[in-house]
């Protein structure tokens, strides 16, 4: 897939995580492999495991511009290349606007167009690709392979000046086509273990009291283990919750495991966003409190 006529992202560029992003060894290895071999990197994982943030962090760590493409259920592959805004042109022609003569005024550049024409290597984020139609990934294969596409309205081929690093995220709502997968590197971000989570919290709260962190993580991981939750709290919820705990000046003792087992942790609304989950949890807490 590498193409020697394209300027490469320098080989010694390595992503190692940043001051604001904790990347485990398996993740950095996958990112660096994708950089070196110039293949798209597909990232999956539970919501809140830092998939979207990864692209931002890689771009800023390597000093490359980031082009983001957030996918919706109605997004079409063509929109990543360009769109011909025929409706505006029709309107302009009826209003007698002279711009109408030049069709290029009505070609709206998509994310890939912008990245291809960028004067330096860039990062392209295709976020939540599984939201789109099942054919969407296949429709992009050729462009991602060849790093070029044709604009029929302008009779012009847009070629990548530099092959961008492509990071694709998926929440696993749809299976992705095999042909597409074969071209990508793949990494599944597993939910952080305690140690990693501690580091993640560390980058958000450099001066958090050790005691509070310890108790909070205990409560957090216990809560994730409650069977039957519709939505387990994720990293971002943990961080929001910690923010609240700090703002309210909640002491670590209030979270202490012994008491917390049969009580509801303070401000648990930040951890459990789903009403049913809150009910379930309160019921469980209530039941365990009644036990002798």
């Amino acid at each position: 897939m590498s193409n020697s006529t394209l300027a490469h992202i320098p080989n010694d560029m390595k992503f190692e995580g940043t001051e604001t992003y904790v990347a485990t060894r398996d993740l950095t290895l996958a990112v660096n492999a994708a950089i070196a071999l110039q293949r798209p990197l597909l990232i999956k994982g539970e919501p809140g495991t830092g998939k979207t943030l990864l692209a931002e962090e890689v771009a800023s760590a390597l000093g490359m511009p980031l082009f983001q493409w957030h996918i919706k259920s109605t997004t079409k592959a063509q929109q990543g290349l360009y769109e011909y805004d025929a409706v505006s042109r029709l309107r302009d022609s009826q209003l007698g606007d002279p711009r109408v003569e030049d069709i290029s005024h009505y070609i709206v550049h998509g994310v890939l167009w912008q990245a291809f024409e960028c004067d330096q290597p860039s990062v392209v984020l295709i976020d939540e690709i599984d939201k789109a139609d099942i054919e969407f990934p296949n429709d992009l294969l050729r462009e991602l392979d060849r790093m070029e596409f044709h604009c029929y309205e302008l009779h012009r081929t847009i070629k990548a000046k530099h092959r961008p690093l492509i990071i694709i995220t998926s929440n696993n709502e749809k299976e992705l086509p095999d042909a597409f997968l074969r071209r990508c590197f793949f990494h599944y971000i597993k939910f952080p273990d305690k140690e990693t989570m501690q580091r993640i919290v560390g980058v958000h709260f450099p001066v958090l009291k050790h005691e509070l962190l310890k108790e909070a993580l205990e409560v957090f991981f216990d809560l994730r283990d409650v069977p039957g939750l519709k939505k387990k709290p994720s990293t971002s919820e943990l961080i929001d919750w910690l923010k609240l705990l700090l703002a309210e000046d909640i002491p670590p003792e209030a979270l202490r495991a012994k008491e917390a087992k049969d009580a509801i942790p303070p401000l648990h609304g930040a951890l459990l966003k789903n009403e049913q989950d809150v009910h379930l949890f309160e019921r469980l807490a209530f039941m365990s409190r009644r036990k002798p």
Partner: protein, 390 residues
């Protein structure tokens, strides 16, 4: 060695392609990993496995391959090139082969040889490379798996248990039972099923844009309707040892309820007869006539049974065979009646598929269903949904 490893993965039913093998070669040539087997594991996983539900299978295969290393002939440094040639002829397309030629993998293997030689010396020099000599599960004679380091330094402070041996992705494997952890994945697959079969509607934006582009001539665009059309009748066997599994399944379908156009539950015990229950708690009270159910729901409903199908054969085959009441007609008659009413049907069985052959009632029901019995795993669910959508 890589080709051999690759073939091993294939033999373990990992869907790896030559394209990906080439990527791995390329990655090694680019010196992406500086040596440890751990890194090689991560790198090969990122390149060869594209689905986390296959991580566990990969871990097992990786463990097998690199544990049994001494038994694999391919590890002798002299062989690889011939092999590559051979394997290339067998497995690569013309285009792939051309590509391979451009990669100087001689160089890779040259290097590999050197490293291997170097390590052999060190290895015989002492137990340092093995770690805890004698007690190491790999440590006896021949190569230890560290021998496959592909260059560079060893990472000293790794734990004795290898990542792949921890099997931490076990519960992402979609052939394991449905449980709290994988229920979400199951749900997504169910939703996907529920969204199928929708009609088309007018795409207004598309039509306007198309018409404008067409110079004002009407250009109609249609798109599939977003909402779904699937209707399901769920028959759950309760009151037995399988209650937990069946409840899990019931919850699963309920969670997907919003996605179905209609979803109705009914309970039965062991086999369906003339009456079913709507409310599990009142199963000895209010009985719903199965005939009424048959007359209420149209043939476009999909019929899903969940149960272990384990009972005495009489309960299926004979009038009066039920353990709970006197049934005028045999369970099989009722099952056939239901299947004739709703031809799209599947039976989900929480018992492991491998055990089905040992219970005659399971075989009888499987036969009645025309082989459409599936295990209650994500994979089984997927197969069931596929069969239902036919």
């Amino acid at each position: 060695m890589l080709v051999d490893f690759f073939l091993h993965l294939k033999a373990r039913q990992l869907p790896v392609s030559t394209n990906e093998l080439l990527a791995l070669l390329e990655a090694l040539e680019a010196r992406l990993v500086s040596g440890s087997l751990d890194d090689f594991y991560l790198l090969s996983r990122a390149l060869l496995v594209k689905d986390e539900s296959l991580y566990d299978r990969f871990d097992r295969a990786f463990g097998e391959y690199f544990r049994g290393i001494e038994a694999l002939p391919g590890f002798a440094p002299e062989v690889p090139e011939e092999w590559l040639e051979l394997a290339a002829r067998k497995h690569l397309s013309e285009a792939d082969r051309l590509k391979l030629q451009k990669l100087s993998y001689e160089k890779i293997f040259e290097q590999l040889k050197e490293r291997l030689a170097e390590q052999k010396e060190r290895h015989s020099g002492g137990s340092k490379w093995i770690g805890t000599a004698g007690t190491s599960p790999y440590g006896h004679g021949g190569y230890n798996p560290e021998g496959v380091r592909i260059g560079g330094e060893s990472v000293g402070n790794r734990t004795a248990i290898k990542v792949w041996d921890q099997r931490e992705f076990r519960n992402l494997d979609d052939t394991v039972d449905l449980g709290v952890r994988n229920i979400k994945v199951a749900l997504r697959r169910l939703r996907r099923f529920a969204r199928k079969g929708a009609a088309t509607e007018l795409d207004l934006d598309g039509t306007i844009a198309g018409t404008a582009r067409n110079g004002g001539w009407l250009d109609l665009h249609l798109r599939p309707e977003r909402h779904n059309a699937v209707k399901v009748l769920l028959f759950l066997d309760i009151g037995g040892s399988m209650d937990d599994h069946i409840q899990a399944c019931e919850e699963l379908f309920s969670a997907a309820r919003a996605e179905f156009k209609h979803l109705e539950h009914f309970y039965f015990h062991n086999c369906v007869y003339e009456g079913v229950w709507k409310d599990n708690r009142r199963r000895h009270g209010e009985n719903l006539s199965t005939w009424d159910v048959i007359h209420t729901y149209g043939p476009d409903y999909k019929l899903v049974f969940v149960g272990d199908a384990s009972m005495s054969p009489y309960e299926i085959a004979r009038p009066g065979g039920s353990v709970e009441h006197w049934n005028e007609e045999a369970g099989a008659v009722w099952l056939e009646r239901l299947l004739a009413t709703w031809p799209h049907a599947a039976w989900l069985n929480p018992l492991p598929e491998a055990h089905w052959g040992y219970t005659s009632s399971i075989q009888m029901i499987e036969q009645l269903l025309g082989k459409r019995m599936f295990p209650l795993t994500i994979d089984g669910l997927e197969r069931a949904m596929r069969s239902l959508s036919k």
